[in-house]
């Protein structure tokens, strides 16, 4: 009995220690959020965990006197386009890899592995010339296209993993009843992969929402900027506007954090399975 209690006590001690470590790890983000409520003049005097003056002026500056709402809209549009295309393409391909073991699929699977390691800068360089020629700079097309291929390998494997866990007997039964393979897939298997699809969707959404390099190449006009580009323009034009900068950072972090917390269980499982096993 005593040793049982001792075990529980040490579990709590470890838990509390880990909680403190977790706070320390996240200190850059905590400081950002706390100081976003302080006037810039105070922030320049040093960061703090306990603000002396609390103000919302940074947030009003960001929301009313900057293009933050526009950047946010641009980011959401590109991220949604990317997510929808990836869901369809990776869902189909993942299903094919899960159910049909052909030579084509074997080759495709190894190619995907190679693409995951591909330096995206090489794509950006050549496509920069192409999209400029096509007049598609500053539209969502180039960024969305690159984000789709950046997320495809990983999402295809995540989907394959989820489909692998759905018994084949379900489709076989449907096919005995006269449904085509395609119909069996769309009406029986896909609905069951819902949680997996949610994880893939949010992974892709976050990738597109967070990405900086591709966006900086293809979205150069101020009104086409996404959130990462917009935040950077903040510091570029006024290196001392830390108040609005921290407020904008806090606002920009909210959507990814909320989405991640919603599907964290599925995403962690999917990532662990998909990322490394291939």
């Amino acid at each position: 009995m005593n040793s049982h209690r001792g075990k529980r006590a040490s579990a709590w001690a470890l838990s509390i220690t880990m909680f403190v470590v977790m706070l320390l790890i996240n200190i850059p983000l905590i400081l950002t959020a706390v100081n976003s409520f302080r006037p810039t003049s105070d922030i320049l005097g040093g960061s703090t965990l306990m603000p002396d003056t609390v103000t919302l002026e940074n947030y009003t500056a960001v929301l009313q006197r900057s293009d933050f709402p526009l950047w946010f809209r641009n980011s959401i549009v590109i991220a949604l386009i990317t997510t929808m295309i990836t869901l369809v393409a990776a869902g189909f391909a993942g299903y094919s890899l899960s159910r049909y073991r052909t030579k084509v699929n074997a080759a495709y699977s190894s190619a995907l592995m190679a693409f995951q390691l591909f330096p995206i800068v090489l794509s950006v360089i050549a496509l920069f010339v192409t999209f400029r020629f096509l007049g598609l700079m500053n539209t969502p097309v180039p960024a969305a296209m690159l984000y789709v291929v950046m997320s495809l390998p990983f999402c295809t494997w995540m989907f394959k993993g989820f489909f692998d866990s759905i018994p084949r007997e379900l489709e076989e039964a449907a096919r005995v009843d006269g449904a085509s393979s395609f119909r069996a897939m769309v009406s029986i298997v896909f609905p069951l992969a819902g949680p997996g699809a949610a994880a893939v969707a949010i992974y892709t959404f976050l990738l597109a929402y967070n990405e900086f390099m591709v966006a900086s190449a293809f979205l150069q006009r101020p009104d086409s900027r996404t959130i990462p580009l917009g935040l950077r323009s903040f510091i570029q034009y006024d290196a001392t506007a830390w108040g609005p900068m921290l407020a904008a950072s806090t606002l920009a972090s909210l959507p990814p954090l909320i989405l991640f917390v919603l599907v964290q269980k599925w995403m962690i499982q999917g990532m662990a399975a998909g990322a490394v096993k291939g």
Partner: protein
């Protein structure tokens, strides 16, 4: 109707991996399997295969982004890149950055994974909390760190001052700039190590531990002789994978140091060179980076094969 067999009996890979290979009964099914992969194949061809080939062509030509393909120049772009000290500085930076980042992020990821697989109160909450640095946009993390490190009033120097240490001007000193990028890279990438290692640790066999504790092995011995050998295959994959991702990283050094010349990675060098100066040499530099990554990827695939054979 011809009966076709789905799993090619010659393909050992499939034999090993397939839990329950379903026979392709009809030609239509085979066609469906290819059609389903078509959208992905099309997208990958347009956005990766085509630009890769085009980039290789540019690397043998004179040109600028505004006016590409101004004639063939043989290997001139490559010799120009290889003679450029900035290119070698980028190789060196990328190497140190990758090595430092991988080592620290693996160490952190492993320690936290070992502690977080224990059955402690609030485990799933803690797990989410430890992954947050990986979830927030890089620009946010980089800005926060830049702000914390930039001058004597920054949080890092405030802490150093409590301990009576002199302030560090991270972005004025070439060595400290590199150190800063490594610390921040490790901060951003350890969560991935943590997730992957936790999944591996959870799949390990508990019987060995019971046997070992009966034999009187202490915790460190248990880890070193039982746990570590079992997570070694996965660890090796993670090391190579993270090295490749670090070489591919543009955002961390660029955003943290505000494109300081002391922290130009191969990505930043290739990108700037190709887009702003010379499409030919920039492409050549990107192709050389691709070759470096291909060697790493080759090892990665070998390790993966070895791991899945076990």
């Amino acid at each position: 109707m011809t009966a076709e067999v789905a799993a090619d009996p010659q393909s050992k890979q499939f034999k090993r991996r397939a839990k329950k290979p379903m026979d392709l009964q009809t030609r239509r099914d085979r066609r469906l399997s290819i059609n389903l992969a078509l959208p992905s194949i099309l997208l990958l061809s347009l956005a990766q295969v085509y630009p890769m080939i085009q980039g290789m062509i540019y690397s043998f030509q004179k040109g600028k982004t505004a006016k590409p393909s101004q004639g063939w120049v043989g290997l001139n772009n490559y010799s120009a890149v290889l003679a450029d000290p900035s290119f070698w500085a980028a190789v060196r930076f990328s190497g140190i950055f990758a090595l430092g980042g991988v080592t620290i992020s693996y160490g952190l990821g492993l320690v936290f994974a070992l502690l977080l697989i224990k059955d402690i109160p609030g485990r799933s909450f803690l797990r989410v909390g430890f992954i947050i640095p990986w979830v927030v946009p890089p620009i946010v993390g980089m800005t926060a760190w830049r702000w914390m490190m930039q001058d004597e009033s920054g949080a890092v120097n405030q802490v150093l001052a409590w301990f009576g240490a002199d302030p560090i001007y991270f972005f004025n000193d070439p060595t400290w700039t590199v150190v800063a990028t490594i610390i921040v890279k490790a901060w951003r990438s350890f969560p991935f190590m943590l997730i992957s290692l936790m999944a591996t640790l959870q799949s390990l066999d508990g019987v060995l531990y019971e046997a070992a504790s009966i034999d009187g092995a202490n915790r460190w011995q248990q880890f070193w002789h039982i746990t570590f050998p079992q997570i070694l295959p996965m660890s090796a994959i993670l090391w190579v994978l993270m090295t490749i991702w670090s070489v591919n990283d543009y955002e961390t050094p660029y955003l943290l140091t505000n494109n300081s010349e002391n922290a130009r990675s191969l990505m930043i060098f290739s990108f700037d060179e190709a887009i702003h100066r010379n499409l030919g040499t920039g492409s050549a530099s990107a192709v050389l980076t691709l070759l470096i990554l291909a060697v790493l990827a080759y090892f990665m695939l070998k390790l993966q094969k070895k791991a899945s054979d076990q």
